[in-house]
């Protein structure tokens, strides 16, 4: 780009946001970024890692506060200078109740759009969403607006779906970048940040997962931080991505659920001490049977079993709702697809094991 230009980034202290910001700054020496941060102490740590403090201006604020809780001067500077907003900040907790998820993800996005609307120039809004706004839909999930919904597995998905609608309806220029589930940093398999997938794997490893919902054709779509961050950094500001929904997903490279359980089991079974326990693969069953099991645990399980079932209930139903995320837009715009899940799954398991597994029950609490 020929002249200095400014963007606003939310969620820059998160694992993904930090990576995106670093890539943007590295790619464009004229770029300046305002970053909306709720915790300035946390931002200081991020800034040290980025090493580009002069071009990054932290602005204290909160998605849940009116006007994003920014000081008037900061807001004025943003409205004067910013030409694009990359909105990554979100409450990604699957177990959040709908009102809490909406407060951050939907209403927070509304407040970001209001800032965009107040800007002096037409602002591009790059909204980082989740591929799982598809919720309970099955089959091929296209990179487009979803006129009808089939319901959602958790409130996170619903709140992100609702936020997408706001972006599409209100932003003058937008791109929706839907990420699949991030499970490791890159194809080396290193895991900097654990999430529900790792906790579920940990439960499996400790023989605490009796069953999972699933059907023939169920797959697990997962991606690396590096792939998603690269995709966001490259597409957020590109004009040819405007008005498009882009799936940053494994797509065809998703791993069949049965194969995933098998290769995971076989990897752990290379440890004789683990194999000796006789832990079995979780049974794969229909949603009706799984729901009956869940209900029974809720009725009679001890507190730790209830926590385990509760933790799984917010995302494992997807396994019985087979879907494949179409990545036509992503492949065309990025010029390549995501790494296949089977290429980083085993390294990721090895990294998890090397990091040590704490009590799985404590970690789902």
């Amino acid at each position: 780009m020929s002249a200095d230009h400014s963007i606003l980034v939310t969620g820059a202290t998160g694992l993904l946001g930090r990576d995106v910001l670093a890539r943007l700054l590295a790619a464009d020496s004229r770029l300046r970024a305002f970053v909306l941060v709720r915790d300035l102490g946390r931002w200081c740590r991020t800034a040290r890692e980025l090493g580009s403090e002069r071009r990054v201006i932290p602005v204290h604020g909160d998605l849940c506060a009116d006007g994003l809780g920014m000081e008037p001067n900061a807001r004025a500077a943003i409205c004067r200078d910013v030409t694009a907003i990359i909105h990554l900040a979100a409450d990604t907790t699957f177990s959040s109740p709908l009102d809490r998820a909406r407060a951050v993800n939907t209403l927070g996005t509304q407040r970001v759009l209001e800032i965009a609307d107040d800007c002096e120039t037409s602002v591009r809004v790059a909204y980082v969403s989740t591929a799982f706004v598809a919720g309970r839909r099955t089959g091929v999930i296209a990179e487009d607006l979803q006129a009808a919904n089939a319901g959602w597995v958790n409130a996170y998905e619903q709140s992100k779906y609702e936020a997408e609608r706001l972006v599409m309806d209100q932003a003058a220029s937008w791109v929706i970048l839907r990420s699949s589930t991030v499970v490791c940093d890159d194809v080396s398999g290193e895991v900097t940040q654990t999430n529900a997938v790792h906790r579920a794997l940990n439960l499996y490893r400790h023989g605490l997962v009796a069953m999972m919902p699933g059907v023939v054709g169920s797959t697990v779509d997962a991606v690396t931080t590096a792939f998603v961050a690269d995709g966001i950094a490259r597409l957020a500001l590109r004009s040819d991505a405007s008005g498009k929904v882009v799936h940053l997903c494994a797509g065809e490279g998703a791993l069949p659920l049965v194969e995933l359980l098998d290769i995971t089991y076989e990897r752990w079974a290379t440890n004789p001490a683990w194999r000796k326990r006789g832990i079995v693969r979780p049974a794969i069953t229909d949603l009706t049977t799984y729901s009956l099991f869940e209900r029974t645990i809720a009725q009679v399980g001890d507190p730790s079993l209830k926590r385990i079932a509760g933790a799984l209930s917010h995302f494992v139903p997807h396994l019985a709702l087979p879907k494949r995320f179409d990545t036509t837009n992503a492949d065309a715009l990025l010029g390549r697809g995501a790494p296949r899940v089977r290429d980083f799954w085993i390294p990721m398991l090895d990294h998890m094991h090397a990091q040590g597994a704490a009590s799985p029950i404590a970690r789902v609490a």
Binding site: G207, A210, T289, T296, V300, S304, I308
Partner: protein, 325 residues
């Protein structure tokens, strides 16, 4: 393991004996013998259990075995092997008293075995006698599997398997949301049975779970996938599809647990013969065979029906049999 050739081994006779006393869940609750709310246990299919007060494990074992010999006109000298399973140290004590057990095992009384006494009292002059232990609710299954092997290898022609399992007087009557009952059951495995031919079996033991109380969550988690595996393996050996099973003859645990397991295995839920869960409760080792006899008696099971029997034993064992009725 391969399917048995026709006419080689089958269950030709079953008899059982229950204590005189039957108690409702409400009565057990009032006596402090349940951990859970009776209403919850009723949701899981339980209603009454048989509780021994005057009977001993041995007296019921003898009653069941005598009933078998009498009802089926089995000549004692036609039996060549006796297989007993149960808790020998309290076999002669009223209602299996735990206090009596201590004195038994502290003296030569410990060598007073119910298996040998049964051989004497039943006039089984020609039989070799032995016992199985430490198999919990799968002990009678294991006895039948051993009997089948003896018959198929020609080491025996007719094997009488007897189990008798009691809880001590005043003991809790609930094990992981299942209501336990006292009972004895006798099963005759014959080399030339016309009915209940044993087509296949499968058994899995996982010693990792030997500390049942300390690993309760792990056991709950492993129960279903391992049960599914054992049932599928049994069906594979019998060359049956899940929907070809006419009746599932269960151990009398929670109906909810059975509904989940049938959902996992793809066996239609209406194929579960579950009438005795409410009437008798979980008699540990005897359930499936008591149920088989009653399912035949009430006309549910007809010749040629395909029967799947499955049980789980704490400690931990998963076991199944495929029978052609």
């Amino acid at each position: 393991m391969t399917a048995a050739p026709p006419g080689i081994a089958g269950i030709s006779a079953i008899a059982y004996a229950l204590p005189a006393q039957q108690r409702s869940l409400r009565e057990l609750h009032a006596l402090g013998q349940l951990e859970s709310d009776p209403a919850l246990l009723e949701q899981f299919g339980f209603s009454h259990v048989y509780v021994a007060e005057e009977e001993t494990p041995y007296s019921l074992a003898l009653e069941a075995a005598r009933a078998l010999l009498h009802e089926y006109s089995v000549a004692p000298d036609s039996i060549d092997t006796l297989l007993y399973c149960g808790t020998p140290s309290v076999a002669f004590a009223a209602a299996g008293s735990a206090v009596d057990a201590t004195s038994h095992i502290s003296s030569t009384q410990r060598f007073q075995y119910p298996a040998t006494r049964l051989q004497y009292d039943l006039d089984l002059e020609c039989v070799s006698t032995f016992a199985l232990d430490q198999l919990a609710c799968t002990s009678l299954f294991s006895a039948v599997r051993v009997a089948r092997a003896l018959v198929e290898t020609g080491d025996a022609r007719r094997v009488l398997c007897v189990s008798s399992e009691f809880f001590p007087v005043g003991a809790g009557r609930e094990a992981i949301y299942n209501c336990t009952a006292d009972a004895a059951c006798a099963v005759l495995v014959d080399h030339s049975a016309d009915r209940n031919r044993i087509l296949a079996s499968a058994h899995t033991t996982k010693g990792y779970y030997w500390q049942g109380d300390a690993m309760r969550n792990e056991i709950v988690a492993s129960y279903f996938p391992t049960a599914k595996h054992v049932i599928e393996e049994t069906l594979r050996r019998a060359r049956w599809r899940p929907d070809e099973v006419t009746w599932v003859i269960p151990h009398n645990i929670s109906i909810r647990s059975w509904e989940i397991l049938l959902g996992l295995t793809g066996i239609p839920r209406e194929r579960l013969w579950c009438r005795n869960i409410a009437r008798i409760g979980h008699t540990l080792a005897g359930d499936n065979f008591i149920n088989l006899r009653d399912a035949v008696s009430d006309g549910s099971v007809r010749p040629g029906d395909r029967l799947l029997l499955f049980s789980y034993g704490y400690g931990a064992h998963w076991t199944a049999l495929a029978l052609e009725a």
